[in-house]
């Protein structure tokens, strides 16, 4: 029999799990060139809710955890091939020339489509994990010192119990179809800016002409878009940026290495330092953590 046994009921373990979920945050930004276009992204997220079940085979299953994307922004930039529109006379001068005309405008060059989907919620569908007890030696611990000196230096050894994922499944980000209209408006605004200081009514006429040329098809061609622009951005988030993979890796790393659900110093202080007396600390050995459908059980021995 072990010297020490500690057990936490399923509902108590749920509280530890809630703290685990509440403390998770992830943020990242990056940019890269992908041939005909370059893209950048900036994301930040936290987790909410989720259900937890404990199993007699020693595993934990976590399901339906919301990924709340506090920031989910991307931008795709490319060179719009040059073309000219306008140069028409819409009110001819009966005697000679043109009374009111649309100037010929040539546009092209760099254009960026920024997308902001902040507030979107996606989901971690399933995490299967077991418990893992680890012994942590602080890499900053001074060499050749006693455990007590290491503690006084702020670098004690620790026992830690982690949730060690076997797998983490994250649902792909689902870009709403409404993004198609938003992106059209973004492109329209970008083209309007390219048209320079013309009256709005004139820009409206030119935009109609540009649409007639098939500007969206031109852009799709440049970016290699086969389906809808919304689908293309969805692919950009999920596959090109691999946000799904990044989140899966971050969650797995957080559970397995960053946030122990149970942690204490070794040797463990049982009487505090007092009046110049050193603390009394007991060495803990053979820490093990298991789970069944009722509870988490941690056992350990007191070292000699």
């Amino acid at each position: 029999m072990s010297d020490v046994t500690i057990a936490a009921s399923a509902s108590a373990f749920k509280q530890l799990f809630n703290a685990l979920i509440d403390n998770f945050t992830f943020s990242k930004s990056d940019s890269a060139s992908y041939g005909p276009f370059s893209a950048s992204y900036s994301v930040a997220l936290h987790l909410e809710d989720g259900t937890l079940s404990l199993h007699d085979d020693g595993t934990i299953e976590i399901q339906d955890v919301d990924i709340v994307w506090d920031t989910l922004k991307a931008s795709a930039c490319f060179d719009l091939p040059g073309f000219c529109v306008g140069g028409w006379c819409i009110v001819p001068d009966p005697w000679n020339g043109c009374l009111v005309g649309i100037p010929k405008i040539c546009i092209g060059g760099p254009i960026c489509i920024p997308v902001d989907l902040s507030g979107l919620v996606s989901e971690i569908t399933d995490v299967k994990a077991s418990l893992l007890a680890k012994y942590y030696v602080d890499p900053a611990r001074p060499a050749n010192v006693t455990d007590l000196a290491a503690e006084f230096a702020g670098h004690p050894n620790k026992w830690q119990v982690y949730i060690d994922p076997v797998w983490v499944h994250v649902d792909p980000i689902n870009v709403p179809d409404t993004l198609e209209n938003i992106i059209e408006n973004i492109i329209k605004n970008a083209i309007y800016n390219m048209l320079g200081p013309l009256p709005d009514w004139m820009k409206d006429i030119l935009w109609a002409a540009i649409q007639a040329i098939g500007i969206l098809d031109i852009i799709k061609g440049v970016l290699g878009i086969v389906g809808s622009i919304a689908d293309w951005f969805e692919n950009l988030f999920n596959s090109v940026f691999d946000l799904v993979g990044l989140v899966e890796t971050a969650v797995a790393d957080y559970f397995a290495n960053k946030y122990p659900i149970y942690e204490f110093e070794d040797p463990y202080p049982i009487l505090p330092a007092s009046g110049g007396l050193i603390p009394v600390k007991i060495p803990i050995r053979n820490l093990a953590a298991t789970i069944n459908s009722h509870e988490m059980i941690v056992t350990a021995d007191v070292g000699a």
């Binding site: 204490f264 049982i270 600390k281």
Partner: protein, 277 residues
């Protein structure tokens, strides 16, 4: 499948007597001044100690005292000058045995077998009063009696401390006790309490009873003042203790008849969790 530890509670903690006995040894080696008492001359004289003291290297590295230095034992009636004798008192070993008893063989005076929910303890106390040489006693120069001196605002004469040779004895002490819950310094804690005690081979009985009274009181006071176990420590700072939304308290009876419980050679604690907003 066996009954879950947390069938009637949210957090369960148990420590086996083997673990507690190792912990006792660690405390004795790391906080020796809690177990060794004597006058300054005794504390300095390692060779004269009644019992060898084993300490960790950290105790030496940080210059922690091995003895708690106490005042010299006063000789009653001597006040001009006051005279004190050196002494040494050491607890040299201690062991605990949780019900059912299988580590300590209790003496008949403690009516074995050990009753349910009780623990047994055995410990060895060694001590001595320093017996001063006669020439030291003869060398004491009487002064103005202290009472008269203080009446006129004069200082009492300085005490004369007489170091002496220790002639050590050891007592084997057995005790039985139980654990209680107590709030100590604002923290829910476990408190060990001795209920009865016996000292082997002391006569007359009244002398034994007087020594037992002193020792039992001393142990209970030290347990209360120095060796209570806050629940958080008992559970090795289990993470639930640090969650602001969770409060933990001892699970009542029913459903837990004994909390803390001393059974199966273990000390067990059962806590119930309340989750706040």
């Amino acid at each position: 499948m066996s009954t879950p530890f947390t069938q009637n509670c949210d957090l369960y903690g148990a420590v086996h007597e083997n673990g507690v006995n190792k912990i006792i040894t660690h405390i004795m080696r790391q906080r020796p001044s809690l177990f060794n008492y004597g006058t300054a001359d005794v504390a300095k004289n390692v060779e004269g100690w009644c019992s060898k003291v084993v300490v960790t290297q950290d105790v030496r590295n940080y210059n922690n005292p091995i003895f708690t230095v106490e005042n010299y034992l006063p000789i009653f009636g001597a006040d001009s000058p006051p005279v004190g004798l050196s002494f040494c008192a050491q607890l040299s070993s201690a062991k605990i045995d949780f019900h059912p008893s299988n580590v300590i063989k209790l003496p008949a005076e403690l009516t074995p077998p050990l009753q349910p929910q009780r623990f047994a303890m055995s410990f060895r106390i060694c001590g001595s009063i320093g017996c001063p040489p006669e020439q030291e006693v003869d060398g004491i120069q009487p002064t103005q009696p202290a009472g008269q001196a203080s009446d006129v605002g004069l200082k009492s004469p300085p005490p004369v401390n007489l170091p002496g040779r220790l002639n050590c004895f050891c007592l084997d002490v057995y005790a039985i006790g139980h654990f209680e819950r107590a709030t100590i310094l604002g923290k829910e804690s476990l408190l060990g309490k001795l209920d009865d005690m016996d000292i082997v081979d002391i006569k007359p009985d009244a002398l034994e009873q007087n020594i037992i009274c002193y020792l039992k009181t001393a142990v209970n006071v030290i347990l209360r003042e120095k060796l209570t176990i806050p629940y958080e420590k008992f559970f090795f700072s289990f993470s639930l203790f640090h969650l602001a939304t969770v409060s933990l308290s001892a699970t009542p009876n029913p459903p837990i008849p004994n909390n803390p419980a001393v059974e199966d050679d273990q000390l067990k604690v059962f806590l119930t969790m309340k989750v706040g907003p």
